[in-house]
């Protein structure tokens, strides 16, 4: 069927720019991830990839990465949704909260890591605080490689603190473009706040949610400064390994393999989301 009466014109117009863009975006990628399929001498081989797979840290890193993702994303979405709704409620001073919530956005990954390290470290604020309350008689070592629970906990907290705002402002934008009628209809027909969120807001927010999910997940795969700052060598993630191989071990090929893996996972996650939250034909009619 003809694209709404436009004939082929658009295609003709687009092709050149598309081709150009394809080159601009795809080419560097391909060339660089080619490295993953070369050994240190530059000959084609899967040596580097095998090296990655057999690396002592690999499985650990993969596991941690996934664990963190699975923990952080849902927490952040619940938080972000709450924040977005508060802001969207347009109650007095809700504008202010936008700033409060968004503040950590201005803090870089590493800085966030350092901040939270200084909170959780043995002589950190948390211990001082709990000590002050008399809850702990002597400081507790939270950041102990032997018990990853607290490490993970601290990292999840730090990440939630730092990056929830990214999701939040995307959702706020989404909420703003939901026509008011629908919310009013939901109100009139007796939807509780929770029902309203579940039955009306979330579905209508799908595009924004999808975007936020994809963006956040992709970025989460790249997080590592926070992890290193907080857990040191106690925990490692794929991104951190990529850097270790590039920086400390000076093996660009293995580093490329890691980078490639991260990219692959990101793409898979994206596809997963697009598949879980398909954009149906119905539009705001």
């Amino acid at each position: 069927m003809r694209a709404r009466g436009l004939g082929w014109a658009p295609y003709v117009l687009l092709v050149p720019s598309l081709v150009y863009m394809a080159i601009f975006f795809a080419a560097p990628m391909i060339q660089s991830f080619g490295l993953a399929f070369q050994d240190s001498t530059g000959a084609w081989s899967t040596a580097s990839i095998e090296r990655m797979l057999n690396d002592a840290q690999f499985s650990r890193a993969l596991l941690t990465t996934v664990t963190l993702l699975v923990l952080i994303i849902p927490i952040q979405f619940v938080l972000a949704m709450g924040m977005a709704l508060i802001i969207n409620a347009r109650l007095k001073g809700s504008g202010l909260w936008l700033y409060v919530f968004a503040l950590p956005l201005g803090v870089s990954e590493l800085a966030a890591g350092i901040i939270w390290f200084s909170i959780f470290t043995e002589r950190g604020w948390l211990n001082t605080f709990l000590g002050g309350l008399g809850i702990l008689e002597r400081p507790y070592v939270f950041l102990n490689p032997q018990e990853p629970f607290w490490l993970i906990f601290a990292i999840v907290l730090a990440e939630s603190w730092r990056a929830t705002a990214i999701i939040m402002i995307i959702l706020v934008a989404g909420l703003q473009s939901i026509p008011r009628d629908y919310l009013e209809a939901a109100d009139v027909f007796g939807a509780s706040t929770w029902q309203k969120i579940r039955r009306v807001i979330l579905p209508l927010l799908r595009p924004a949610l999808q975007t936020a999910l994809i963006l956040r997940t992709i970025l989460a795969f790249q997080v590592f400064a926070t992890v290193i700052a907080i857990a040191g060598r106690g925990l490692t993630v794929l991104a951190a390994e990529a850097y270790r191989w590039y920086g400390d071990l000076r093996d660009t090929n293995v580093a490329a393999s890691y980078a490639g893996l991260i990219l692959l996972l990101s793409v898979m996650a994206t596809i997963l989301y697009l598949w879980l939250l398909p954009t149906r034909e119905e539009r705001l009619a």
Binding site: D181, Y182, E184, A185, A186, D187, V188, F189, G190, A191, S192, Q195, R199, V200, P203, L204, R206, R280, E281, E282, R283, L284, A285
Partner: protein, 377 residues
């Protein structure tokens, strides 16, 4: 027991007093039609009752319980939005079921109610479509179905049939009316269709510029308008208005009509009697003006007008007449043939006249004798 009571309610948008100090009570199970020019505040009034607009002053009570500060969902009402507001992401079925699901009604019952509602509105075949796949009228019917499926005590309908074809609309009126009586709902119904208003409403509330200017049963509103505006706004053709002056010759009052003619008043109301010598306005419906060939052959009371246009409408003829510089509409039998530019004598039944103050346009005295039980569309 769901009576709707508005006590001096005002809803204000910036400088616009969309609803202005409205005092209105709708009895349990009553069906009140809200009628008024575009932009007079009907929707705002409905939205205020629903709790979608925060009212600026006054109180709103539903079934005796004050709801002024209650959120919409706590008011147990159903509403048909003027903009439909059917959920684009839900199928027609889920749209109609929405309110029921919120109430956690078990699904068998939901299915039953949704289907009967859809049946009633002839959208049964679309249940699995999304609103974007429906025509305007079909979408509107979904909105109506969603409201009636709720079977709640109070139903607010904002021009619910405006986008349906005549045939369907006639059918829907009857169906809706029947159903609403069945479920014992108290209804406020906004429409621009006068036939709808006059035929459906137990009472009609006429609004103007945010104020409710008259509330009464259709016949009252039609034949005894509270003021000139109502008279001219309701009924097609609108009420005729003659300027006249009261005179007392001998024992009896007579209205001297500007442009010639005298109308004797047999049993004038007390209020009217006080207005002797003042300039008034006589409001009279087209069908209450009897047209006759010149004076002699009819009980014409001396009011003579020139016939301008004759519109044969099959069942009757509609005449446009000039009395001095005021235009009048009158109705005659289809076979009554009068040529344009011919002079005719009018017999105006004094008992059917609605007397109005010439300045304020407000009615004077008790309602006149009603004419035809149901006014013409």
């Amino acid at each position: 027991m769901a009576e709707i009571r508005l006590e001096r309610v005002s809803t204000i948008f910036g400088k616009v007093r969309a609803v202005d100090d409205v005092e209105l009570t709708i009895n349990h199970q009553e069906f009140v039609v809200l009628l008024g020019p575009s932009g007079c505040g009907k929707t705002t009034l409905l939205r205020s009752v629903a709790g979608l607009e925060s009212i600026h002053s006054g109180r709103i009570l539903l079934g005796g319980r004050e709801v002024t500060d209650l959120p919409p969902r706590k008011r147990d009402i159903a509403m048909v939005f003027q903009s439909y507001a059917v959920f684009p992401h839900l199928t027609v079925f889920e749209n109609i079921a929405f309110g029921l699901r919120m109430k956690r009604i078990q699904s068998a019952e939901v299915k039953r109610r949704v289907e009967s509602a859809a049946e009633l509105l002839h959208i049964g075949e679309f249940l699995q479509r999304h609103p974007a796949q429906l025509s305007g009228g079909q979408r509107q019917r979904v909105a109506v179905a969603r409201a009636i499926a709720m079977e709640s005590g109070v139903i607010l309908m904002d021009e619910p049939l405006s986008n349906l074809d005549a045939l369907l609309r006639v059918e829907m009126r009857a169906e809706l009316k029947r159903l609403l009586r069945e479920i014992k709902a108290t209804t406020i119904y906004v429409t621009h269709d006068q036939v709808e208003a006059l035929s459906m409403g137990d009472r009609i509330a006429v609004m103007r510029a945010g104020k409710v200017v008259q509330v009464g049963n259709p016949l009252e509103v039609y034949s005894a308008p509270a003021d000139r505006f109502v008279g001219s706004f309701i009924g097609d053709p609108p009420m005729n208005f003659l300027t006249a002056e009261l005179e007392r010759d001998g024992g009896r009052l007579t209205a001297v009509v500007a442009g010639g003619g005298r109308i004797p008043l047999d049993e004038p109301s007390a209020e009217l009697a006080e207005r002797v010598g003042e300039g008034l306005v006589a409001g009279i419906r087209a069908e209450n003006i009897e047209v006759a060939r010149q004076a002699a052959d009819a009980p014409g009371n001396g009011v003579v007008a020139r016939c301008l246009v004759v519109e044969p409408l099959g069942s009757h003829n509609l005449l446009t007449l000039a009395l001095g510089d005021t235009r009048l509409k009158a109705i005659t039998r289809p076979d009554y043939d009068v040529a344009p530019d011919e002079d005719v004598a009018l017999h105006i039944d004094a008992r059917r006249i609605r007397w109005l103050d010439s300045e304020s346009g407000l009615a004077i005295g008790p309602p006149p004798q009603a004419g035809s039980p149901v006014p013409p569309a």
